[in-house]
């Protein structure tokens, strides 16, 4: 396929990654969050494979497979098991109301567009415009961690941030060296396991995973 169609598909997939990030901001149900995260991983892996095909960087195929197995299959399964075991309620509350969170999300997108403008001028890669989307996804992942009260949603926010970083790597430099990517993937897997263990402990101690209740862990009270 020629470069133009590939560029269009690349933009499409980046836009869908951004859409899933916003949808995760707005989503109230835990299962919905996991499904959205799965979709985000899927779009990301297809995008990586596409960039690998166009730029003839074959190690990106391996990254794409890694992303697929880790973020689309393994991690959602782990999270699902976690939720079932901990008997977590279906709905999660947020700190701020949703329309306000959305407006802040839009402001973050505009901000990251403004910030990555110099890179866009200088880069010659096909994927240079998706850098802004990647940065926005990272920031929105962080926003998600801030505005949610439930620990499971915070880990999903963390994973969304990592997705954004991955997209940034793909769009800025056509992917990181394979060693780095394997290392990052391993770190994510271990982080998920550690989170799981911690959640069990927290749940046993506090009988809840609402981070507001953990606010009592401070000096002056």
């Amino acid at each position: 396929m020629n470069l133009q169609i590939a560029a269009q598909i690349n933009s499409f997939l980046a836009a869908f990654v951004l859409l899933t990030a916003f949808a995760m901001l707005a989503q109230r149900r835990v299962y919905g969050l996991i499904h959205l995260f799965t979709w985000q991983g899927l779009f990301l892996s297809i995008n990586t494979a596409l960039v690998g095909y166009v730029a003839s960087k074959h190690h990106l195929y391996i990254s794409s497979l890694l992303t697929l197995s880790l973020k689309v299959i393994l991690l959602p399964y782990i999270l699902h098991v976690l939720i079932v075991r901990l008997k977590i309620r279906r709905e999660v509350e947020s700190v701020m109301n949703i329309p306000l969170t959305m407006l802040i999300g839009i402001a973050l997108v505009i901000f990251s567009y403004h910030l990555t403008a110099p890179v866009r001028e200088l880069s010659t890669l096909m994927t240079r415009s998706t850098l802004a989307v990647a940065l926005a996804t990272v920031l929105i992942g962080l926003l998600m961690m801030i505005t949610r009260r439930h620990a499971v949603t915070q880990i999903i926010g963390f994973l969304a941030m990592e997705n954004g970083l991955f997209l940034a790597a793909t769009s800025a430099t056509y992917g990181m060296p394979l060693v780095v990517e394997l290392g990052v993937a391993l770190d994510i897997l271990i982080a998920a396991f550690i989170f799981g263990i911690f959640f069990f402990h927290i749940h046993t101690t506090f009988d809840s995973l609402d981070v507001e209740k953990m606010a009592r862990l401070k000096e002056g009270d």
């Binding site: 505009i110 567009y113 403004h114 403008a117």
Partner: protein
Amino acid sequence: MIFSPIEVACASVVLLLLVVFVAAMLKGSQRLLIYAGSLLTSVSSLCVAAAGAMTVGSGMTERIVLMLGLPDLPFHLRLDPLAGFFLTVVGMLSFFVSVYSAGYLKGFLGHRSVTRLVVFYSLFIAGMFMVVLADDALIFLISWEVMAAASYFLVMFEDERQENRRAAFLYMVVAHVGAIAILLSFGVMAGLATGFTSFSGYTFDAMRQAKFPLEWATAAFLLSFFGFAAKAGVVPLHVWLPEAHPVAPSNVSALMSGVMLKTAIYGIVRITFDLLKVYPWWWGAIVLVFGLVSAVMGVLYALMQHDLKRLLAYHSVENIGIILIGIGLAMLFTSFNLPMLAALALIAGLYHTMNHAMFKGLLFMGAGAVLHATNERNMEEMGGLIHRMPWTAALFLVGCVSISALPPFNGFVSEWLTFQAFLLSPSLPSPVVKLLMPMGAALLALTGALAAACFVKAFGVTFLGHWRGHHNPHVHEADWFMRSGMIMAAMTCLLLGVFPTVVIDWMDVLSEQLVGSKLSTSAGVFGWMWLTPIAPERASYSGPVVFIGFILIFAAVYVVLHVKAGKISRGPIWDCGFEKINARMQYNATSFAMPIRRIFGFLFDVREQVGLSPQSAHPAFPKRLNYRLRVRDRFWGWIYKPIIETSFWVSRRIGNLQRGRIQVYLIYSFITILVLLVFVR
């Protein structure tokens, strides 16, 4: 022409000033005074409007130097197309309202004397004309004060009520704070125009030639914007508007809302486009942001009201916001050197100025007719007036449709032009500004839709349904003077909506002089019936075709259906089987706005209280239900209350200087003498 336009304008102003003497003479015979005053003010307004229209049409500028004023500082007057446009707007509405007043003031006969009203009314109009004609800072400020003082006395007309006095006082304070800012701004510009060497910098011509360094120009702009915004009622300086406009007599409210606010817009346009001329892009951004905030907050406040005139006053805040959006966009495009787009935005803003004067005047005149007939301002006590006051209802409906920006009336044309100006923002070079503009357009769309909702509420609760009040007064239709004033305003609304290319052709010289580009070359390129502001492929609107299309298709459908028409029979309303339906079960203003209050209520301070007093048997069968709702303006608590309390605190401290004992005052004089002796040595 025998007389030049500026001579006609000056003569008319003199005629208005003469009304004072006429009133003094005719004080005894109130009815004759009403007719004479109305006749003189309408004739002079019409002459001024004609003079202004001719000036805009011809594009010429005339000046006069009057030998009045201080020695060496005479008054300069100038009638250029911008002044001519505003004279036309002010003059036309003053003419309509003066005709209306002949009928309206008759309602005061026998209750109170209208001499004061007639005198200050003509002084008010004279002040407004002089503000627009002024060509130097001195006469501008003098006329500004005349306008403010005359309107203060008009607002205080029914001064036996404490709330009226309070409203007038608040109006006076805010107007003067604004006037001080304008004075300082003129001072900065006049001083810099001559390098602080002579007094001759006070003329606008001197200010036009001068080159201002950026910091001083910014200071002048910010001061004048603050001052004019206080007069125009821009959020957060709007608190006086909903207090002062409702308590004034309705013909005065029509003028205040319709044209007095426009003199502030005139001031902003004059200072920015004519006197300062070169400015950075963020000035336009400030104006645009304040315009957007005023538009949205104004319409939301209006939705919370149940007093008809207060609702209309808040809508003035909203529409001033829309005008400022147009002007802000024009400033933004000019600072990026895009004169064609700036012309579109400027024409949109100025067109909306004219439209707002017409439909707001019409709406206030209608509200006055309702108040005159029912003695009631609270919409929740009204209803069903369309049957008793059919003319007023129909004309008020024209005003409602116009202000809701619905085709084919005039409000739609100016909003459409503003949207087209927003849609041109991709041409801007700055990427962040480009991304934020569509948000502004979305806010403008929200404002328009909320305004339509508010006017469905206002018209529906006042005129439709059944009478909601407790008593049933003898409600009569407005008399022919009031109807004529309203009919003329309504016809103007329709004509401005159906023939926009003609109006833009006429207004064209304004954009050419102020931003350097004509709009009419592209606006009428498809033919006089189609308005194509940038290019026909880009966007087009045909007011006449829509209007004629309505009429033709309507006629066709009506005829087809009435060839074999079925019978129309009347019956009682559908009550769903519940026979005891009464007029209190209808929706009123508070209930209509409830969903919007729930959704947007976080912007206000809303307290709702529901109290049930049950019958003895069971709490499920209440005997009475008390509902109390209080909606408060947050700006009052954040800005005004602290300022008021601080100023009272400071005054009290300073008041301690006044001890009351003579020794203390002698000590003050003694210390002053000692100090002067030290320094003069």
